[in-house]
C-alpha cells in the first residue's frame, strides 16, 4: 500500500484515526464535548472527501476512490455528524460517556464509507463488519435500560449469524470463481459451469440472507422493530439510515457488475421486494408505537429500494440512490424529533405519548409530520419524487407487478404514517409538561426539513449529480 493509496483513502482514515484519538483522549479527559469534536472530525472527513481528489482509482483492490465512493463517504460522514449532534443532549440526560460514544459513531461512519466504496468482496465484508460491530455496542449503549440490552442482544445474535452466512457465502463464491474482486468474481462465476456455478449461486443465496438481515428485507426483518425500539433514538437514526444505506450503496456497483448472472437471482429478488413491501405494510398498519412503526415502514422502503436495484441500469440505480437519500433524510429527521422529545425519565414512543404535542411543540411536530409525509410520498416533499422515480423505473424496467404492489402499499402506508400525525395534531392536548430539545438537535431538524422541502420542490440538481456518479 503506497502513500498515494493512503492519501486516496484519507477521509476514512481521518474518521478512524479521529475516532481512535477521541477514544484515547477521552479516557484521560472524560467530557461530553468529545461529541462535538466527533462532529468536527466527521465534517473534516466530509470536506476531505469532497475537495481532495484521490490520486489512485482503487486502493489495494479493495476500495474504489471514484466520485461515487467519495459521494457516499461525504454522505455517511455528514450522517455521522448529524447523528452526533442529535446525541449531544441525549447523551447528557442519559449520562452516556461522550468520548466512547463519539468514537463509536465515527467508526461506524468509517465502516459505512468503506462499505460504500468496496470493490471487492473482502472490502465489502470488512466494511460491513466494521460498522456492524460498532452497532452491537451502540445499540446497548444505554446500560441501565433493559430494553436497550435486549435489543443489543438480539442484534448481536442475529448479526453474528448473518456474519456467518456472509462469510460462508463469500467463501463459496471465491471457491467458485477464484477472485474477490468484483467484476472478476462474477466473470469467473459465469465462465465456470456445472457444480462450481451452483456453488457460486448458493454462495449468492447466503450473501443475500446476510444482506437481507442488514437491510431488513422480509423474511429477515423480524429483528428490526425490536432493535429500533430498544436502541437509543440517535442510534436508531444511524441504524435505520446509514447501516442500510451503505449496504445499498455497495450493492449498486455489485449488481452492476453482476451482469447476466442477475437473471438467476431475478425471481428471488422480485419475491424479496414484493414480500418486504407487503409484509412491512401489513405489520405496520396496527402499530401504535412510533419506533416500531418506523421499523416496519423501513422494511417497506427496503422493498422499494430493492425494486430499484432489480431494475438496475442507469435509470433504476439513479432512482434507487435518490430514494435512498430521500429515505435517509426523512428517517433521520423522524428519529431526530424523537430523540429531541426524549427526557431523562422517558423517551416517547407510544402514540399516546404524542397526544396533542403538535401545538405544544409546533416546529418539531411539523418536522416530524413532514418527515412522515415525505416517507409516505406526498408531494411536494422529496419522498414523492423518490417514489415517482422508483415507480417509473419499475414500469420502464418491465416490473409492472412491483410497481402495482408499490402503489398499493404506498396507499396503505398512508394509514400508518397519518396515525401519528392525527395523534399529534388532531387529538386533545395533554397537560403534561414540555419536552425541551437542544439547539444542536434543532440544527439537524432544520437541515432535514429544508432538505425534504427543497429537494421535493427542486430535485433536479441532485438527480443530475446522482446521474453523473453512476457509470
Amino acid at each position: 500500500m503506497s502513500l498515494l493509496e493512503l492519501q486516496a483513502l484519507l477521509p476514512q482514515i481521518i474518521l478512524a484515526l479521529g475516532a481512535t484519538a477521541i477514544l484515547m483522549l477521552g479516557a484521560w479527559y472524560p467530557s461530553r464535548k468529545w461529541i462535538l469534536a466527533g462532529v468536527g472530525i466527521a465534517l473534516v472527513a466530509a470536506l476531505c472527501a469532497g475537495f481532495v481528489s484521490p490520486a489512485v482509482a482503487e486502493v489495494a483492490g479493495l476500495y474504489s476512490t471514484g466520485r461515487y465512493a467519495c459521494f457516499f463517504v461525504i454522505v455517511w460522514s455528514l450522517l455521522g455528524a448529524f447523528s452526533l449532534l442529535l446525541s449531544l443532549r441525549y447523551a447528557e440526560i442519559h449520562d452516556l460517556p461522550g468520548s466512547e460514544y463519539s468514537s463509536l459513531v465515527l467508526f461506524a461512519a468509517c465502516g459505512m464509507g468503506l462499505l460504500s466504496a468496496a470493490t471487492s468482496l473482502i472490502g465489502l465484508f470488512l466494511g460491513l463488519e466494521a460498522f456492524t460491530l460498532v452497532f452491537y455496542v451502540l445499540i446497548a449503549f444505554k446500560r441501565e435500560d433493559p430494553r436497550g440490552a435486549e435489543a443489543g442482544l438480539k442484534y448481536l445474535v442475529m448479526g453474528a449469524v448473518a456474519t456467518g452466512f456472509l462469510a460462508f457465502g463469500i467463501s463459496l463464491i471465491y471457491a467458485a470463481s477464484g477472485s474477490f474482486h468484483l467484476p472478476e468474481a462474477f466473470v469467473g462465476l459465469q465462465q465456470t459451469a456445472g457444480g462450481m456455478r451452483t456453488i457460486g449461486l448458493v454462495g449468492w443465496a447466503l450473501i443475500l440472507v446476510a444482506i437481507g438481515f442488514k437491510v431488513s428485507l422480509a423474511p429477515f426483518h423480524l429483528w428490526t422493530p425490536d432493535v429500533y425500539q430498544g436502541a437509543p433514538a440517535p442510534v436508531t437514526a444511524l441504524l435505520a439510515t446509514g447501516s442500510k444505506g451503505a449496504v445499498f450503496a455497495a450493492l449498486v456497483p455489485l449488481f452492476t457488475a453482476l451482469g447476466p448472472l442477475k437473471a438467476d437471482l431475478e425471481v428471488i429478488l422480485w419475491v424479496l421486494a414484493a414480500l418486504s413491501m407487503l409484509v412491512g405494510t401489513l405489520a405496520a398498519l396496527p402499530q401504535r408505537n412510533l419506533k416500531r412503526m418506523l421499523a416496519y415502514s423501513s422494511v417497506v422502503h427496503m422493498g422499494y429500494l430493492l425494486t430499484g436495484l432489480l431494475v438496475g441500469g442507469r435509470v433504476g440505480n439513479r432512482a434507487l440512490l435518490f430514494y435512498l437519500l430521500a429515505y435517509s433524510i426523512a428517517t433521520l429527521g423522524a428519529f431526530g424529533v424523537l430523540s429531541s422529545f426524549s427526557r431523562v425519565d422517558d423517551e416517547p414512543q407510544e402514540y399516546t405519548d404524542f397526544r396533542g404535542l403538535g401545538y405544544l411543540h409546533p416546529r418539531r411536530s411539523s418536522v416530524l409530520a413532514a418527515c412522515l409525509l415525505s416517507l409516505a410520498g406526498i408531494p411536494p416533499l422529496v419522498g414523492f419524487f423518490a417514489k415517482f422515480g422508483i415507480f417509473s423505473a419499475a414500469l420502464k424496467g418491465g416490473y409492472p407487478g412491483l410497481a402495482l404492489i408499490g402503489i398499493l402499499t404506498a396507499l396503505a402506508s398512508l394509514y400508518y404514517y397519518l396515525s401519528p400525525i392525527v395523534v399529534l395534531f388532531m387529538q386533545q392536548r395533554d397537560a403534561r409538561q414540555l419536552r425541551r430539545g437542544g439547539r444542536h438537535e434543532y440544527i439537524v431538524l432544520a437541515c432535514c426539513f429544508a432538505a425534504i422541502l427543497l429537494l421535493g420542490i427542486y430535485p433536479a440538481p441532485l438527480l443530475d449529480l446522482l446521474g453523473s456518479l453512476l457509470p
Binding site: R318, F384, F425, M426, A460, D464
Partner: protein, 502 residues
C-alpha cells in the same frame, strides 16, 4: 389593464404563489391572530383582484390566453408549465372569490388561527395550481397538495367525527390519484418510447398512439382519480362525511372548489388524452351520473343534519355536471361548466349560512331547529335565496346550468335527460325540507320563546359583506349567464373537437 401588460408579468405564477407567500407570512406572524387574519384576507383579496383583472382584461379566445413554461426537472422531462384558457380562468376566478369568503367566514377562528389561515392559503395555491398546470406531474403535484391542507382543516378544526371524516376523504382521493399516477407514468413511458422524447407535457402526451386496451386501462386510472373527487356514485361516500365534519371554510372549499378539480381534470386531461376510451366510457358515466342524481337526492331527503343534506345535494348536482359531460356536445358542456361554477357559489353560500346558523344556535339538526325567520329574518332571507338557487329555481344561478345540461343531454340520451329532470323534483323535496326545518314552523326545541339564549343576533357587518356579493352573484349568474358562457364557448368547442388544445 390591457392584454399586453398582463402578459409581461409572470402573472400566472404570481397568482399561483401569492397564497403560498401568505401561508409563510402567516406562519411567521403566528402569534398575532390579528395579523394572520388580515394577512389571509389581504392575500386572498389580492388574488381576487388579479383574477378579476384577468377576467376583465383577457379577450375571449378559444386557445390558451397566457402561458408560462420553464424547465424544472429535465432528468424526468418535467416542466414548470402553466397555461390559462377560458375554462381555467373561470375556475381560478371562482377559487379567488370563494377563498375570500372562506377567510371571512372563519374570521373569528380562535383555535390555532395562524395555522388555519396558513392552510386555507396553502389550499388556494393547490387549487389554483390544479387549474393552471399543463404538465402532468406538475398537475399531480398540485392535485396532491390540495389534500394535506384539507386533511388538516377537517381533522383539526372539524366537528364530532372529524378524524374519521378527514382520513376517509384522504384515502378515497388518494386511492384514486395513485391510480392516476401509475397511468401518468405509463403514458409517459409509452410516449417516450414512441417518440424518443420523455416529456410530461400535455401537448406531447396527446400525440401518443395507444392500443385500445392500454388506452382503456390508462383512462381508467385517470377516470378513477377524477370521479372520486367529483364525486360520482358509488365513490361519493367520503363527501357527506367530509362536508359535514369540516369547518365552514373547509366545507366551502370542498364543495365549491375541490369537487370542481375533478371535473376540470376530466375535461382537461382524461378526455383529451384518451379520446377513444373517453367516448366509450360515456354511457357508463351517464348511467352513474343518473344513479347519483337519484340516489343522492333520495338520501338527502332523510338526513337530519343540514350540512349532510347540502353535502348529498352536491353529489346530485355533480351528477348533473357529469351527465352534461357525457352528452358530449357544446350545449351540455357549456351547461355543465356553468352549473359547476353556479354550484360552487350556491353551495358555498349555503355552507357559509349553515356555519352562521351553527354559530348562533349551536345546532344543525333539522329536528331541533325551526322558526328562524322569526328571530333572524335577514339571515333567513339569504338562506331561502340560496336554497332556492340550489333547487334550481329559474332566474337563479343553478337553473341556467341545469337546463343547458338537460337540453344538451336530451339530444344524446333522451331517456336519461328526462329522468334527470325528475331529479329536480327530488332536489325540491329535500331543499324545501331544509327550509321547512330551519326557517318555518314554530321556534325549534333549541329555543323556547322568552329564552334568553334565543335572542340571536341577526347578521353583522362582516356577514353582510360576505353574503351580499354571493347573493348578487347567484342572481347575476341566473339572469345573465352570458358573462360566463362567452369565455367558455371557444375552449369547449376546442375540447369537443378532440384536439383540446390550441
Amino acid at each position: 389593464m390591457t392584454f399586453v401588460s398582463l402578459t409581461e408579468l409572470p402573472i400566472l405564477s404570481l397568482i399561483l404563489w401569492l397564497p403560498l407567500a401568505g401561508t409563510l407570512l402567516c406562519l411567521l406572524f403566528r402569534h398575532s391572530n390579528f395579523a394572520c387574519r388580515w394577512l389571509a384576507l389581504l392575500t386572498t383579496g389580492a388574488v381576487l383582484v388579479l383574477a378579476i383583472c384577468l377576467f376583465v382584461g383577457l379577450p375571449t379566445a378559444p386557445g390558451w390566453l397566457i402561458r408560462e413554461d420553464y424547465a424544472w426537472i429535465p432528468t424526468f422531462g418535467i416542466r414548470y408549465s402553466l397555461a390559462l384558457d377560458g375554462i381555467s380562468l373561470l375556475l381560478v376566478s371562482l377559487t379567488a372569490v370563494l377563498q375570500v369568503a372562506a377567510v371571512l367566514i372563519s374570521w373569528k377562528q380562535k383555535e390555532h388561527p395562524a395555522l388555519f389561515y396558513a392552510l386555507v392559503l396553502l389550499l388556494e395555491t393547490g387549487i389554483i395550481g390544479v387549474f393552471l398546470a399543463t404538465d402532468l406531474i406538475l398537475f399531480y403535484l398540485f392535485w396532491e397538495l390540495m389534500l394535506i391542507p384539507m386533511l388538516f382543516l377537517i381533522g383539526v378544526w372539524g366537528h364530532g367525527n372529524r378524524v374519521y371524516a378527514a382520513l376517509k376523504f384522504f384515502f378515497f382521493t388518494l386511492a384514486g390519484s395513485l391510480c392516476m399516477l401509475l397511468a401518468i407514468i405509463t403514458l409517459y413511458l409509452i410516449h417516450g418510447e414512441q417518440s424518443g422524447i420523455y416529456s410530461f407535457a400535455l401537448e406531447s402526451l396527446m400525440q401518443t398512439q395507444l392500443s385500445p386496451g392500454i388506452e382503456m386501462l390508462l383512462y381508467g386510472g385517470f377516470l378513477l382519480a377524477f370521479v372520486v373527487k367529483v364525486p360520482l356514485f358509488p365513490f361519493h361516500t367520503w363527501l357527506p362525511d367530509a362536508h359535514t365534519e369540516a369547518p365552514a371554510a373547509g366545507s366551502v372549499d370542498l364543495a365549491g372548489l375541490l369537487l370542481k378539480t375533478g371535473i376540470y381534470g376530466l375535461i382537461r386531461f382524461a378526455f383529451p388524452l384518451f379520446p377513444h376510451a373517453a367516448q366509450q366510457s360515456l354511457p357508463l358515466l351517464a348511467v352513474l351520473a343518473l344513479i347519483g342524481i337519484f340516489y343522492a337526492a333520495w338520501i338527502a331527503y332523510v338526513q337530519t343534519d343540514v350540512k349532510r343534506v347540502v353535502a348529498y345535494s352536491s353529489v346530485a348536482h355533480m351528477g348533473f355536471v357529469i351527465l352534461g359531460l357525457a352528452a358530449w356536445n357544446q350545449l351540455a358542456w357549456e351547461g355543465a361548466l356553468l352549473l359547476m361554477v353556479n354550484h360552487g357559489v350556491t353551495t358555498g353560500g349555503l355552507f357559509i349560512l349553515i356555519a352562521m346558523l351553527q354559530d348562533r344556535t349551536g345546532s344543525r339538526d333539522l329536528r331541533a331547529l325551526g322558526g328562524m325567520w322569526k328571530t333572524l329574518p335577514f339571515f333567513s332571507a339569504f338562506f331561502l335565496l340560496f336554497c332556492l338557487a340550489s333547487l334550481g329555481l329559474p332566474g337563479l344561478s343553478n337553473f341556467a346550468g341545469e337546463i343547458l345540461v338537460l337540453l344538451g343531454a336530451f339530444g344524446r340520451w333522451p331517456v336519461f335527460a328526462a329522468l334527470a329532470a325528475a331529479g329536480v323534483i327530488f332536489s325540491a323535496a329535500y331543499m324545501l325540507r331544509v327550509v321547512q326545518g330551519v326557517l318555518w314552523g314554530p321556534l325549534g326545541q333549541l329555543c323556547k320563546i322568552g329564552d334568553k339564549d334565543c335572542l340571536h343576533e341577526d347578521l353583522d357587518r362582516r356577514e353582510w359583506l360576505l353574503l351580499i356579493p354571493l347573493a348578487l352573484l347567484v342572481v347575476w349568474l341566473g339572469i345573465y349567464p352570458t358573462t360566463i358562457l362567452e369565455p367558455l364557448r371557444g375552449p369547449i368547442s376546442l375540447l369537443l373537437q378532440g384536439g383540446g388544445l390550441p
